[in-house]
Symmetry: C2
Subunit: 394 residues, 2 copies
């Protein structure tokens, strides 16, 4: 009996030792590709762990915070704090440092607008990172424009991607995708952390996507009654995996998109059609978005099928046939319904709804991004899958 | 005697009390115009003081750091630190927070690239801020482009401002200004903190400047031997007022601009002329820059007078006649030499050199920005003064 217990104890101890060993980070750290020029930290290793470092000689406690999960850091004799995270999913994550209770960006990382503020982000190298890499191919332009919106009674900033050939032939006109960011993000998201321009440059150079214009506007407009103000929690939506973006499938409860709908339909689309060489008709106009932007797409595009022919919803729910007022009209006008989720989100309902749409004769596609959550790697991949399906009719 | 001493003591005490009273900040604090959307801090008052705030409940010491000068902050019962600076010059300043020795950006402020990293900046409202305000006028576009540089053997990002009418008439062509940032800044500086696009939109809408293209490239290229690597102090140049940008008048000692010269002449200008509707000749091409960018302009433009006809040097020295190899050729080709400084910099030599050039029959202009130092308000104003003088011959 005693021998058995001792044996069990020894085995258990062995397991613990083995586990402790596997918890040792693999020592192949490299500066993250997203770092500021010349910065050696933060670093990532082949397991996807993040190693942060900051000099804070008088601090009592410093932590690395990745999407709300905190990892301890320790101080060396020179006052330098260093600490590692557990392995993270491939792709982009928002993060920060907590210094004696102060939540601050990491001065060495890159900066993006997410979770309602400019903060740090880090890119964990991904097995499929080639599709969003900056390559030696013809490049389009991302243009910062300002248009006056009567709906918002203000100037609004917007980014417009024009494909590589846009300026070559002044008589050529292009289809347009209106592409929206998520809750508490802004108009910079798709071209910064979303890499939309590089994704399109690569697809176009490989002949996999038609050249088209992408319009990336700010989808938050507070003049609409009922719209959740910046910083308020999205009513009724469950945040997924530590992000504060509303999870898909919540049906957009708590959001009222009529302000943005007015801005898009009455101010932005007319401005784009007047100032860019668009093919200004329904077959050559698509709308898509991620998370809240996907909810906006679901709310706006099916209500304006004379304007949009193709629909993309990334981590933002899906369209059930019983939500469609006139199924025959929808079949006639909607040439594509694309729904996507990360595999770590609950996309089952989206997948089911896509199957039902397909059965009803509507061109529908479901895509699941492997091993990603409610984060940008899911949405980079979603754009990469969605773009080749667009404007096939031209 | 005793009475006299007492009287003197009383007077001195009175003076100290008066001084303490005038050191009380005027209580008309407002959120800085540069803050992130919805952020109440940092604030500024009518004296130009900055009031920063951050929650750091466990911190022992928090300071506000404006261009290297530190101001104490104090903690309230809720763990919120708050502190004021002394009055600052009008315009833009780089700043940060120091939390128990850690130098970090302020999570509430805006972010720009300056002093070698992404950091916080704040705008103190200026009496002349109207000229760089976003107004309801026709807007140009700021286009993010990528071009492949054989000189750098890499893709380089560049921003190109196209004037409001650029896309209206596909047959119209435009002059070009190549406009460079300072040391440890990058290609984002002129359109972010420099407000170059809004300055031009306003000038053009008022009929004060000809519409022209502005090319804003990254002027740092490390392949050239002798170029100061990022982070290294600029050899022989004296930093002005706490910034680490080299002061003008140092003659560019320690810098070697041949790498950027090759990139500009052999890669960038041909790319711009091939991809934008430029008037691709010497009379319609200008070069200007601030601080190190001014030194680059002095080094490159006079050596390529078959390429550039107009020269702007902002806080980056000036051109002495004895530096000009062939004065007759220079008089023939250089249609404008513009030199500027902030009044808190030493621009006396620049002013003197401009007077000598004028006397030699060269169209030269000296501008001094009132009550500003080696900072962006000087350079915003310099562009505003310089742009109306450009491309007068068309």
């Amino acid at each position: 009996m005693k021998t058995t217990i001792l044996l069990l104890l020894a085995l258990t101890a062995g397991i613990f030792i083995a586990r402790a060993q596997t918890n040792q980070p693999v020592d192949d750290w490299k500066p993250a590709p997203s770092n500021q020029p010349g910065q050696q930290y933060p670093q990532v290793n082949s397991e996807g762990r993040v190693r942060a470092r900051i000099r804070a000689p008088q601090a009592l406690n410093v932590q690395l915070d990745i999407s709300g999960k905190k990892f301890p850091m320790t101080k060396d004799a020179d006052g330098m704090w260093i600490g590692d995270s557990t392995p993270q999913d491939q792709g982009n994550h928002y993060y920060g440092l907590v210094i004696d209770g102060a939540q601050v960006p990491d001065p060495s990382g890159s900066f993006i607008f997410g979770s309602g503020a400019w903060r740090s982000d880090i890119d964990i190298p991904a097995t499929d990172q080639d599709f969003y890499a900056l390559k030696n191919v013809p490049h389009g332009q991302v243009r910062e424009i300002y248009f006056f919106s009567k709906t918002a009674n203000a100037h609004r900033r917007c980014f417009v991607y024009t494909p590589p050939d846009y300026d070559k032939d002044p008589n050529k006109r292009f289809p347009v995708l209106y592409l929206q960011h998520g809750y508490n993000e802004n108009e910079t998201g798709w071209s910064h952390q979303g890499c939309a321009g590089w994704i399109m440059d690569n697809l176009i150079s490989e002949g996999k996507a038609a050249p088209f214009i992408i319009v990336m506007a700010n989808g938050e407009i507070s003049i609409s009654p009922g719209f959740a103000p910046r910083g308020a929690p999205p009513g009724g939506a469950t945040p997924a995996r530590g992000t504060n973006a509303p999870a898909g499938g919540a049906g957009g409860r708590g959001f009222n998109f009529s302000g943005f709908e007015n801005l898009l339909m009455n101010d932005l689309i007319p401005y784009i059609d007047a100032n860019f060489r668009t093919i200004a008709d329904q077959p050559h106009r698509a709308m898509a978005g991620l998370s809240m932007g996907g909810m906006q797409t679901r709310a706006i595009a099916p209500a304006h099928l004379d304007t949009f022919s193709q629909i993309g919803i990334f981590s933002g729910g899906s369209i059930a046939t019983n939500e469609i007022k006139d199924l025959d009209a929808f079949k006639q006008e909607a040439k594509l319904v694309f729904v996507s989720y990360g595999s770590r989100e609950n996309g089952a309902e989206g997948n089911k709804n896509v199957a039902v749409l397909k059965e009803a004769g509507i061109n529908s596609v479901y895509y699941e991004s492997p091993n990603t959550a409610h984060e940008w790697q899911t949405w980079r991949r979603s754009l990469h899958e969605f773009a080749p399906l667009l404007f096939k009719q031209q």
